[in-house]
């Protein structure tokens, strides 16, 4: 290769740089779940620059929270990550209970763990279903949704809703589980294992799938930590950080489960971590379901929880207590707290500030997919245009919590 040739190549590269093709993916693109816009500059088929623009689903979550009373915030938290609303409920309830210094009864803590794990399974199933469908495997999408349906039915039997549960209250839960719930849940576990095995057989060694995901969308450990990435995305790089193990909440310290980790931090590792985590969630369910203790599901403190209906209709104290809580709500003591749980995508935290009034002064949700989206532009750059689809799918961005 002579000097002249090198000069020519350099000139050519310069020309190509000037000739980048700008395209806009989204906000209404079939593979941009939720509504997100990516402004991509293409050099041939290679992504030279990617600017991610969220915000199309912004609905002022924090402003609304500051305008509502503490217990009225639960329906808003349902709509953060609408694939696993119970986990959001638990996160907010735990932060508020930490602020009030409340200790929730053991029965409620077991139920919170059980329903959280069910939601984690639905969350991972939905994420993987979307990924494989976008890669062309529509049949497999139906397999995933079939497994998800088992848990939607169970959650519906407890909360009465299929999507937005609003099941928890500060200091406990709204309803107890119905009769036959435990038996039905025990039946769902082997059924889920069977479906997961089928899915595993379809994908884990599937050449078409592997070609699209192995060594695609790699992020390094140190980058992931510095970006604040948590959850399956961080664990795929080999960091075993799980809030359930590192800072056990509810009764997670009583169950045996492992933290699955990947090695390379690519899309395939994220798929494997999510598949393995569902198995761990099933293990937790198996251990927790037979052990649910008896007793109340809410704190018996008239300052924080509603009295029994019997007491409301027959005693003056009960009536007044009910009236005060419905019309004035709770008054957490002055202070600030941060509490976090392991959501489907990572650490879901709430930073709450109270001035002793019945509305929060500040209610900040730390969404787990926000830091991942911050890193996404850098991860995509250098890949092919078609790789955007599996990379973005493996982020499992949920518009509700990303844009709030």
């Amino acid at each position: 290769m002579n000097a002249n040739h090198i000069m020519n190549t350099m000139e050519m590269e310069q020309e190509l740089e000037n000739d980048l093709l700008e395209i806009t993916l989204g906000p209404s693109h079939p593979a941009m779940h939720g509504t997100i816009q990516m402004k991509v500059k293409l050099d041939g088929e290679r992504v030279a620059f990617c600017d991610v623009e969220p915000g199309y689903l912004h609905r002022g979550f924090e402003k609304e929270c500051e305008d509502h009373r503490w217990n009225q915030i639960f329906p808003y938290t349902d709509r953060l990550n609408y694939v696993s609303p119970i986990i959001n409920n638990v996160a907010f309830a735990m932060a508020a209970e930490k602020l009030c210094g409340l200790e929730v009864p053991e029965r409620c803590q077991y139920l919170r763990v059980i329903l959280s794990e069910m939601c984690r399974i639905t969350d991972h199933l939905t994420c993987l279903a979307a990924v494989v469908m976008e890669l062309g495997a529509f049949t497999a999408f139906l397999y995933f949704v079939k497994a998800r349906e088992l848990y939607y039915d169970l959650l519906e039997s407890v909360t009465g809703a299929r999507l937005t549960y609003s099941w928890l209250r500060i200091g406990g839960a709204r309803w107890d589980i119905p009769d036959g719930f435990v038996e039905q849940a025990k039946k769902a576990i082997p059924e889920t294992r069977r479906i997961l095995k089928e899915i595993d057989g379809l994908f884990t060694k599937n050449r078409i799938f592997l070609d699209r995901v192995v060594n695609v969308g790699v992020i390094s450990q140190s980058d992931a930590i510095s970006y604040g990435i948590t959850g399956p995305f961080l664990r795929s790089t080999g960091v075993a950080y799980d809030v359930r193990k590192a800072h056990p909440y509810a009764v997670y310290d009583r169950f045996e489960f492992d933290i699955p980790v990947g090695e390379n931090g690519d899309c395939f590792d994220r798929y494997r971590v999510r598949m393995a985590e569902m198995e761990q969630s099933l293990r937790i369910l198996e251990q927790a379901l037979p052990k649910i203790p008896g007793g109340p599901i809410s704190v018996k403190d008239p300052k924080y929880t509603l009295p029994d209906k019997q007491a409301v209709y027959t005693t003056i104290e009960g009536t007044i207590n009910h009236f005060k809580l419905i019309f004035d709500d709770i008054h957490p003591p002055k202070g600030e707290v941060y509490a976090a749980v392991e959501g489907g995508n990572g650490e879901l935290g709430f930073y709450l500030v109270s001035d002793g009034g019945n509305k929060p002064v500040k209610c900040r949700c730390r969404p787990p997919c926000f830091p991942i989206m911050a890193a996404l532009g850098g991860i995509i750059t250098g890949h092919m245009l078609a790789d955007i689809i599996p990379i973005f799918g493996s982020v499992n961005m949920i518009g509700g919590e990303m844009d709030r």
């Binding site: 915000g55 912004h58 930590i225 510095s226 604040g228 800072h247 600030e336 650490e347 926000f370 911050a374």
Partner: protein, 185 residues
């Protein structure tokens, strides 16, 4: 665990820390805003708080007289032992500003963008402070306490391509396009 860090920090930079507390077990330290970068340099390099968790702000409009109005709040975590720390700084309005952390933690930039559009806090030296969740024409800072929750926003004028598509019928009359089609027949 984190209280030890605070004590160590206090011993090293006694004139930087304004207040510490450990309410409900959350180690919290409030520092002077002009030492912001120095504080996070120490926390990351020497104390080992490598994991970025969260950055946000809070508006305490109308609290005690003379106290600055805004508070920037950062949460960090240490990977090796799981210690958490909350660092705060008070900023006076109406146009507060503080140094950017995007050179220290990569995750800071997007959270600062959000904080900037919501509270109007300027992060000095930030490489990118464009609005993140809101649109560029948005007026005001919605999470400030003096922004009414039912505030309406002015209509954004149509872009050039949209004007051509939506606002000009071929004849300037109602159903003008139908008339135009008839003429063609």
């Amino acid at each position: 665990m984190s209280m030890e860090i605070i004590e160590q920090f206090q011993a090293k930079y006694p004139d930087v820390v304004e207040e510490t507390h450990n309410h409900r077990g959350d180690a919290t330290v409030r520092v002077k805003p002009d030492s912001w970068l120095q504080v996070f340099g120490f926390l990351k390099e020497e104390a080992g708080f490598d994991q970025w968790i969260d950055l946000t702000a809070a508006d305490y409009l109308g609290r005690e007289e003379g106290l600055p109005r805004f508070e920037v709040v950062v949460h960090l975590r240490r990977m090796k032992d799981g210690a958490r720390i909350r660092v705060k700084a008070r900023l006076a309005g109406p146009s507060p500003s503080i140094d950017t952390l995007s050179g220290v933690y990569k995750g800071a930039n997007w959270m600062e963008r959000e904080c900037h559009e919501m509270y109007g806090i300027v992060f000095k030296g930030s490489p990118d402070l464009r609005p993140l969740l809101l649109y560029p024409e948005f007026k005001g800072f919605p999470l400030r306490k003096d922004y009414p929750i039912d505030q309406r926003q002015p209509r954004v004028p149509l872009l050039g391509s949209e004007v051509r598509r939506y606002s000009k019928a071929p004849d300037d009359t109602p159903h003008g396009h139908l008339a135009a089609e008839k003429k063609n027949v």
